[in-house]
């Protein structure tokens, strides 16, 4: 299993090289991997029907309790089969569609990376692993959408998709961590075994909202649906793959996956039900307004994602059955339609439906396949899409609480989708042949094998609905519902309300189709829809971010040392002070064990006075002199408190410092009063706040010993091991000799710098 998941990543590394060396037929050859995976996953079907779920364990990071476990049940198997099966055709198709494209080898590499991430995502049992794969799909799909990277619009669309899904991903991560904390385990197989733990968790609402934020952005639910049509900037094989079976369905997958744990509450029902229904309606409405062949399909995908979300939200046995059936039907017809759209665009050179016409004689296979797939999209018998739509109506009618709302929106969407399916199947093919940028002829075999096979499967599953029901839909429904469910799918349900609604939808849809040109003309006048869409919101947010970034850079990186210093000092004082006084007890100890003598007090007073005078004097010489006073005072303190070596060093350094300052600074101009009294007072307040904090902190740690000093051992070693009697010197030249060597190096470097600058000056003067 590990090899099955990782094989895509491995092949991604070699794919460019393979594609280059094999040439034209690389697509066919590379498709062997997903085909092999498909067969491998098929082999799991009997075991899943028998046992329900298999968990395959691999240890990954034992220290962090992250394992690489794979969960194979009906749901993950359904997705894995769709990804590998459709993936096979997509790779073949890409070989034809991008024939001769200079970046085709790179395309294969990213595509395999994406496919492997997606397979990993649906098979992960561990939430953290799942999240890693989730983000990998976002990143690889960014690369795929922006594949045409020299096109500015493509880059913009790719970035939009990435930002929306990754922002949601952050929320999702928080949600998943909460689930893990609530359940006490990050393994889905353990979490879902007892869903009540999650539902009774005090932060259940926040947890669900975070997870929904991740799923809704990924699966393009209202109001985040806008990125999906823009993702059509990608080459068509990408659109067919990402927007039929896979990436956008990752959100739906996770909702379905978590349904046994999080579902069954009002929040889940209304959140998913209402957002899903609105998305469904928005998708079909926007599809009706579009004339770009891929835009139409993108919006019908939004519709499908909304439908799935709504059905998972409703959560009854029937609704889950409908969701899984719809999922399979949609993947089959949508991948087929996308690939056909790509074939049309590839052969005619235009993406606008209105510019195509009369292609039935030139592209007969495409025409027939489009009709079959579109019938499935419209939900007409005997296609598999019909069964899915009937179930969807039935589930909406029985939905607890939102039955009326869901049904009305479902029927309205169905009407519009019937019209758009008819537009897709007839407009490019019927009527007179229109002049297109390229001379059209039938697409090559590599671009037809996928859509024909998938459309035929849609027909087969419709006529013989027991095959998918028994093989995979039944076990996937059980996985989502959380309990075994008897699933039987029939084409003919008898004369009942869902059938009536279907007939209504078809009749009204056909009427709408006949009036489509007038409807389009009407929509052209309704430009306000574009002005107030959520996409404008996205643009405002992005502009706002740019503005805040520019503003905060201007404020924080302003180029004034004193502003940086003030910020640093005040943050330190506030954060440390707040922690000390409000988080810790804020206790200080004024106890003085050592006591003090009058001469010690005198020295201390000298140091303080020196520091104060050095700060306020307007005479340079005075400042240097008082600075010397501070330095020598400190040397005295060292000597008084048992540190003779420090005292000697300090005296030497202080002498040199004073000489240096007198020699060099005396050539600089007199101190100028560059700031006014208000600024000086403000700076003094900042300075005193830090000084006060330091005083308080010293008093707080006074006499506190956390650990025994390690130097006792150094003292004990000093004579026997290092043969030295001055312990400080022994530490410097023996125990920490390397440190001292580094110090010598630093001082040497400084000396070299000083020498160089003085030399330059001398040379300047000679000129």
């Amino acid at each position: 299993m590990l090899i099955a998941v990782l094989s895509g990543f491995i092949l991604a590394a070699f794919a460019p090289w393979l594609a280059r060396s094999v040439g034209d037929k690389a697509g066919w050859m590379l498709s062997l991997l997903p085909a092999g995976l498909f067969v491998y996953f098929l082999g799991f079907i009997p075991a899943v029907i028998e046992d329900g779920a298999l968990v395959i364990h691999y240890t990954w990071i034992p220290g962090l309790d992250i394992s690489l476990n794979f969960l194979v049940d009906g749901l993950s198997l359904l997705f894995a089969l769709l990804i590998s099966g459709i993936g096979t055709f997509i790779i073949i198709y890409a070989g034809g569609y991008l024939h001769g494209h200079p970046h085709l080898p790179r395309f294969y590499a990213i595509m395999f990376g994406f496919m492997a991430s997606m397979i990993g995502l649906v098979l992960s049992d561990n939430l953290i692993t799942l999240f890693v794969f989730w983000e990998l799909t976002s990143i690889t799909s960014y690369l795929l959408i922006g594949f045409d990277h020299e096109n500015k619009h493509a880059r913009w669309c790719a970035l939009q998709g990435l930002l929306v899904t990754v922002a949601g991903g952050l929320a999702l991560l928080a949600g998943l961590v909460m689930i893990g904390l609530a359940a006490g385990s990050f393994e889905l197989s353990e979490i879902l075994a007892d869903g009540d733990v999650l539902r009774e968790y005090p932060l259940y609402t926040a947890m669900v909202l975070l997870v929904l934020a991740g799923c809704f952005t990924k699966s393009a639910q209202v109001p985040f649906h806008f990125w999906l049509p823009n993702a059509m900037a990608a080459p068509t094989p990408v659109s067919a793959f990402l927007h039929s079976a896979t990436m956008v369905k990752a959100g739906v997958y996770l909702l379905a996956r978590l349904n046994p744990g999080l579902g069954g509450t009002d929040l889940w029902l209304y959140g998913l039900g209402i957002v899903g229904a609105l998305t469904m309606f928005t998708g079909s409405f926007m599809a009706l307004r579009s004339t770009g062949i891929k835009a139409v399909l993108a919006y019908t995908t939004v519709m499908a994602l909304g439908t799935l979300t709504m059905l998972i939200g409703i959560g009854t046995e029937l609704a889950i059955t409908a969701a899984m059936t719809f999922l399979l039907a949609h993947a089959l017809y949508k991948a087929s339609l996308f690939m056909l759209a790509g074939a049309l665009d590839h052969e005619t050179g235009t993406k606008d439906i209105l510019e195509m016409g009369g292609l039935r004689r030139l592209m007969p296979i495409t025409f027939v396949t489009a009709c079959v797939a579109a019938l499935s999209l419209a939900g007409l018998p005997p296609l598999f899409g019909f069964i899915a739509k009937e179930l969807m109506f039935e589930a909406s009618l029985q939905a607890p609480g939102i039955a009326f709302f869901a049904t009305v929106l479902a029927v309205a969407s169905a009407i519009m989708i019937v019209a758009m399916a008819a537009v897709f199947a007839t407009r490019p093919f019927l009527g007179d042949l229109k002049k297109t940028p390229k001379h059209p002829h039938e697409a090559p075999l590599s671009m037809l094998i996928g859509p024909v096979t998938l459309a035929a499967l849609g027909l087969l599953f419709g006529v013989a609905a027991f095959i998918p029901a028994a093989a995979i839909v039944g076990s996937s429904v059980a996985a989502v519902y959380g309990a075994p469910v008897e699933v039987e799918l029939y084409l003919w349900h008898g004369i009942n309300l869902p059938l009536m609604l279907s007939i209504l939808a078809v009749v009204a849809g056909v009427v709408l189709y006949r009036q489509w040109d007038r409807v389009l003309a009407m929509f052209e006048r309704m430009t306000f829809i574009d002005r107030f869409g959520p996409e404008r919101g996205y643009e405002h947010v992005m502009r706002g971010l740019d503005w805040i970034a520019a503003w905060q850079t201007g404020v924080l990186q302003n180029g004034y040392l004193r502003n940086y210093l003030t910020t640093i000092v005040l943050s330190t004082v506030v954060v440390t002070g707040w922690t000390f006084f409000f988080r810790a007890d804020g206790a200080i100890s004024l106890e003085d064990e050592t006591g003090f003598t009058f001469y010690e007090l005198g020295v201390a007073a000298l140091v303080v006075m020196g520091a104060v005078v050095a700060s306020v004097t307007s005479s340079r010489l005075g400042a240097v002199a008082t600075l010397g006073m501070v330095g020598f005072g400190i040397a005295l303190i060292y000597v008084l408190f048992s540190a003779p070596d420090l005292g000697i060093t300090q005296i030497m350094v202080e002498t040199l410092t004073v000489i240096l300052l007198v020699l060099v600074l005396y050539r600089l101009p007199d101190f100028l009063n560059l700031s006014n009294p208000v600024v000086r007072m403000r700076d003094a307040a900042v300075a005193v706040s830090l000084g006060g904090l330091m005083t308080v902190l010293i008093l707080a740690v006074n006499g506190v010993t956390v650990n025994d000093p390690i130097s006792d051992q150094l003292v004990a070693w000093s004579v026997p091991e290092a043969h030295g009697r001055n312990i400080v010197n022994v530490i410097l030249v023996d125990f920490r000799a390397l440190d001292t060597l580094g110090e010598i190096f630093v001082v040497g470097l400084a000396a070299a710098g000083v020498y160089a600058m003085i030399r330059f000056r001398a040379e300047d003067k000679q000129k």
């Binding site: 050095a614 060292y638 006060g692």
Partner: protein, 115 residues
Amino acid sequence: MESVMAVVVGALFAASVYMMLRRSLVKLVIGLILLSNAANLLIFTVSGLTRGKPPLIPEGMDLPAGGWADPLPQALILTAIVIGFGVLAFAVVLIRRAYEVVGEDDLDKMRSTDL
């Protein structure tokens, strides 16, 4: 003496920050000197003040007679004093050089030199 030293260290920190907030380059250098002194004294104080017990071992013995002041902080401070002096020497010459090139002691008026 710790409480007195706490005040001394606080005063040194305050004076150094105040000086570094000035616009004059020379005052910045004075601030740096005060800051390094303040930091050294801080370490010295919190590691414990001991009178008359330098970490020296008399001839013929293996340990200092009658206890000792912790030698490790002293070693660290000694390193810091020397490094501090190296930095200071470099900074002073650098400032002198900058003044010669720009002809200006005001930090605010030196902003364009990196263009």
